[in-house]
């Protein structure tokens, strides 16, 4: 087993850390979003994670990590609204509902991450290179999968996948948006990192810190 602490507690800490990371970067996200969007990305993510934290804390008393995360995702969607609310909420919810039982190993988490990724791709109808959160999530999930296949424990596998996520996030700077509201602006979106790709990176990074501190191999 990868973890000693109650998995539901660790899952709740992950959601809390995600909120803290978004609040820390809220102004930066607003700025990125104002270039080609409406500047509300940071506020929407904060609204969603605030509500998600409340729900996660309620659910962590009785539920598994999966229940905590899927409840948090559902509540994120309800509270956040907007495209990012639907997409990030769906991502979190699908990860939670695909985490089975008490077996939170790197293999089971990889399975859940893939399901979450597939649901976002299907809902948003975007692909790698479209300047969206997928440009962070696809390389992250791939790198995580490679580490998991090599038998790397959860926390280390997560850490090892973050550089790929960061490179994916940074690559959106040189992309022209073709999905979402910024797609209307086309070339005007060039030169600015995608806010959705950025915020989800901060979430992954925050979750990585919690796992590194709280998961003992």
């Amino acid at each position: 087993m990868d973890v000693m602490k109650s998995q539901a507690t660790i899952a709740t800490h992950c959601i809390e850390a995600a909120l803290a990371a978004i609040l820390e970067h809220e102004d930066e996200l607003a700025h990125l979003d104002s270039v080609a969007g409406d500047g509300d990305h940071g506020a929407g993510m904060a609204r969603g994670f605030r509500a998600a934290v409340e729900r996660a804390r309620t659910a962590s008393g009785s539920g598994t990590a999966g229940a905590v995360i899927s409840n948090a995702g559902t509540e994120f969607s309800r509270a956040a609204g907007g495209a990012s609310g639907a997409l990030v909420g769906m991502y979190v919810m699908m990860i939670g509902s695909n985490l089975s039982g008490d077996n939170m190993s790197s293999e089971t988490v990889h399975h859940a991450l893939r399901q979450g990724l597939a649901s976002v791709a299907s809902l948003g109808k975007a692909q790698l290179g479209d300047k969206t959160m997928l440009d962070t999530l696809i390389p992250f999930t791939r790198a995580f999968g490679e580490a998991a296949a090599a038998g790397t424990p959860l926390a280390q596998a997560w850490q090892s996948a973050l550089p790929a996520a960061r490179m994916g996030m940074e690559s959106t700077k040189d992309m022209i948006a073709s999905r979402g509201r910024s797609a209307v602006l086309k070339e005007r979106s060039l030169g600015t990192q995608d806010p959705g790709a950025t915020s989800i990176y901060y979430v992954l990074e925050a979750v990585g810190r919690v796992l590194a501190e709280e998961c003992k191999p």
């Binding site: 609204g81 997409l87 948003g124 209307v184």
Partner: protein, 330 residues
Amino acid sequence: MTRIWNNPIEFKDQLIDGFVAAYGRIIERIPDASGVRVKGGPVADKVAVLIGGGSGHYPLFCGLVGKGLAMGAVMGDIFASPSGEEIYRCTKAVDAGKGVVYGYGNYSGDVMNFSMGEMRAKMDGHDVRQVVISDDVASSPEFDQRRGIAGDFFVFKALGASAWRGDSLDTVHAFGQHANQRTRSFGVAFGGCTVPGRTEPLFTVDPGKMELGLGLHGEPGVETSEMLPGKDIARMMVDRLLADAPQAAGSRALVLLNGLGSTKYEELFVLYSDLYKRLAAEGIEVYKPIVDELGTSLNMAGCSLTLMWLDDDLQTLFDAPSESAAWTNM
């Protein structure tokens, strides 16, 4: 900038509270949901028209709920689509058993969330149709890829009138689609808007410039131009719309010159003094023109011109009586 607020996080809930307190003779808050509906709940024996989108666009969307218009509006945060969950709750709160038609502007967040709301409502046995409004000619060459801006109003009026006179779900939906097919808008912006709690506008326009093809969410335009005199703005707006006129639509049209928030009525009338001549010169027979604010973007400076090419059906629907907080015709 937006100056009046208590806590930016509570801005939307407080605006709904104030709106309901002010217009409680027409509408009521939907219990446990972010929206309003016609006072008295679901309207018996009528198809329900549910409109919605982000807040910050008043009178879109809550100001257009009332007799002859929408039965309900679901309200997101400032410039953010309402969530699928809120749309689902509002669908349940307006359906009188005759089905529900959603009307909203074509933005990826709204499309995703209304589709999620529809999916859940259908699982509960609600019959739902969608009219996704796409009037902004600047936003894409493809009609169904375009955004919805001030043309929302004409489409909502057609949907509401059809529903209130007792048309079937399929008929209400078809009139909404038809109205959208015949509606075109083009806008210009002179300055960006500032969302509550922030100090910087979402974009700025350099002095002596203007943005063409504005967005209704404070997005910058799709291109920048030198600032033009009113008569040249009028010419450009009319040219852009007529270049994209629906096919075989005739020459009779409703006209809406819409202010975005801080471009006020006198300036709009000056612009209209050139617009009506330009429209006449192009052979457009203008029916009941409107110079007003019917789709705004907080305190954004700018305006848009919308034409809906009429046929007898659409003219009858437009003339049908209505009463809402922001639009009343008897």
